[in-house]
Structures are given as C-alpha cells and as structure tokens.
Symmetry: C2
DNA sequence: GTCTATATTGCGATAGAC
DNA sequence: GTCTATCGCAATATAGAC
C-alpha cells in the first residue's frame, strides 16, 4: 500500500465509522485495524484522531464549494431552484454519510464547524438567496417573500425528506427511483402551494 | 438530596451533556461529579450509562405523545396545520436539546431508536397525514397531493429552520420574537406557494 | 441509599527498531 | 514510511464499608 493509498483508505474507513458512532465512539485502534494499517499511521499522517476527523469533514463538505454548477446557465429562477433540489439529492444519494455530518455539526458543533462546515453551508444558502432575490426582481415570485426564510423553507423540504428516512420508510418508498416524482411534487408545492 | 431529587438531577445534567457531546463523549465520572453525587449512583438508579441515556431519550420524546392537543378542536385542516407549526416550535423553544436527540437518533440510531424515538415521531407524522387527507377529502387541498410527502414538506420547513440556526444566524434573526412572523410566512408559502 | 476504593479494561500518543 | 511495544491516563462497573 503506497502513501496515498494508505491515506485514502484511512479516510474512507473513518468516514463510515465516525458517521456511525461519532468522533468519540470510535477508537484509533479500531480504525487502524479496520484499515489494515498500524495505529501509529494516524498520528503520522493526520496528527491524531481529531486531525483525521477534520480531513473527513473537509472531504464531506468539499462538494458544497461547487454549488455554482446549478447556476452557470442563464436559466430563470425556477429552473435554478429545481437544479438545486436535484443537486442536493444527488449529493445525499452518492454519499450516505453526508447528512449525518451535516446535522451532527449543526446541532453539536466540533471545533471544526466554523472553519469547514459553516462556510460550506453558508455558501450554498447565499447562492440560493440570490436566486430567490432574482426571481422577485423579475416579477416571477411574490414581492412579500423574505428571501432567507424562503430558501430555508425550500431547502428544508428536501433535507427533511432525506433526514426522515428511518422514521418514514414504512409509510413511503424512499428509493432513488422515486426521486424524480418527489422533485416534481416538491417544486409544485413550493411554487403553487397546497390549496385547491 | 432525596431519592427523586437525585434521579431528576442526574437526568437533567445528562440531558445537557449527552446533547452537547454525544453518548460516547461523556463519562459517568464527569456526569456524577457535575450532579454532585457518587459515580455508583448511575449504576444504582439506571443500571449504567446506557440506561441513563434511555431515560433521557424517554423524557425528551414524551411530549410527542400529546400531539393530539393540536387536533382536539373540530377546526378545519388549515387551522390544525398552523397549530402543529406552533406546537413544534414551542417544543423546540422550551427544550434546547430536543432537536439534537431528534437528528442524532435519525442519522445515527442507538439501540433505543425503535422503542422510543420511532414510535414518537411516527405518531406525529400519522396525525399530520390524517389532517392532510381530511383537507383533501373536504376539497380544501388539491387532490393530486401525496399526503406523506406533503407532511414531510411542511414539517421540513419548520424543522430545518430550527436546525439551520447555527449556520444562518448572521443572515436572519432566529429569536423567538420573530416566530409569529415566521409562522405566518411559512403558512403562506405552504398554502399558496411562492409564485406571483 | 450513598459513599470510597479498586479491579479491569481500553484509550491516545509516541519511542525506537527496522 | 511503517511497524511493535509500551507509557500514562481515564473509562465503566462493582465490592464492601457505613
């Protein structure tokens, strides 16, 4: 196993274990055994357990830096909102542990929150707020909307749908095959409301 | 300190510490010292650290059993939805640690999830689904709504607003004084959408 | 019912061999 | 660069005094 392979192996194992049992729920002994390397490698490469955790966090939130992907087109605001919903769902589908780090850091921040997590989430929200403001300027959306509240309402629908999976899987099908239907449904509710 | 006082003191201290640092982030040493009692009292009263955690969980989610409070009136569906939003916000305002246990158990369930947390959340969702179905039957809501998805969209708006506090407090005022405005705003978006 | 004292296990970190 | 062996400390749980 070469240098980079070893580093990546440790990060990959740590991502799963920290997500499943939290920073304090995993020992570096178990971590190194699961990765098939010596315990001292964690100090050597990451400066200790917390350093490894911070590397995991950094990787988890790195994709948030590319949120602009949804807005490079000069599409109208509604299309951009749908792009965001699609984008965040893909993120969660491709990374089963992201939501865990997301909620864990928001409700129980570590020392790395302000350096890694807050900027990542902040950037996404900032981009979304601009989309809503643009839609208001262009007379597509209502003028009495508070942009930040509106963004949180929209992001909340999607994030909570994923978050609630464990509690609602007896009630609805949470498989990715239903994602397109869900996106249409949530776009519909968000834009037109539930009234007949 | 009498028997009950000691038990309550331990639960109250544990609620804060477990919320702040997780089940594995707190030792019973620290817990008993903070409560001003001997370490052996935790085993004596709760059968160990996990037993204490389970008692904390039970207390945190006990109020979910009284969700019917919002629906005893024969009010129409829209009024009941507003009652729910008010009810869940009050829960979070009165208990600063509830959301932490909520998200922690959903993304990282302990052995107590299925016995304590899932039934509590399940009951709330079930009550809300009935409200939406009632509104559809009464021709107040659109007929093409999926009731469960719709409930998750609505609950998601509120829950995520609270969840995002740490990441958005520079952007909006999260103080309880603004709650009434938020409730009106979210009722408005949920019922009528954001389109002009 | 509550305490102190202790048994036992496991932790994170690192020195030093290779 | 990677390992083994070990240090010093803190963890949970409990036995036994009061």
């Amino acid at each position: 196993m070469d240098k980079n392979e070893l580093r990546n192996k440790l990060i990959s194992i740590a991502t799963r274990l920290f997500a499943e049992r939290g920073l304090n729920g995993v020992s570096i002994r178990e971590l190194s055994k699961a990765a098939g390397v010596s315990i001292s490698m964690i100090s050597y490469y990451f400066g200790g357990k917390e350093g490894l955790y911070s590397s995991v966090l950094q990787e988890q939130f790195s994709s948030f830096g590319h949120i602009e992907e949804i807005t490079t087109t000069d599409a109208e605001a509604l299309v951009k909102i749908e792009s965001y919903i699609r984008w965040i769902i893909v993120r969660y589908r491709n990374n089963p542990y992201l939501l865990r780090y997301y909620t864990s850091e928001l409700t129980n921040p570590t020392q790395f929150f302000s350096l890694i997590v807050q900027p990542a989430i902040g950037k996404v929200i900032q981009v979304l707020v601009q989309i809503i403001e643009e839609g208001i300027s262009n007379n597509i959306f209502r003028k009495d909307l508070n942009p930040v509240d509106t963004v949180l309402a929209m992001a909340g629908m999607v994030n909570y749908y994923i978050l609630s999976t464990l509690a609602t899987q007896e009630l609805i099908n949470h498989s990715p095959e239903r994602d397109e239907e869900l996106i249409r449904h949530y776009m519909d509710i968000f834009t037109k409301g539930i009234l007949r």
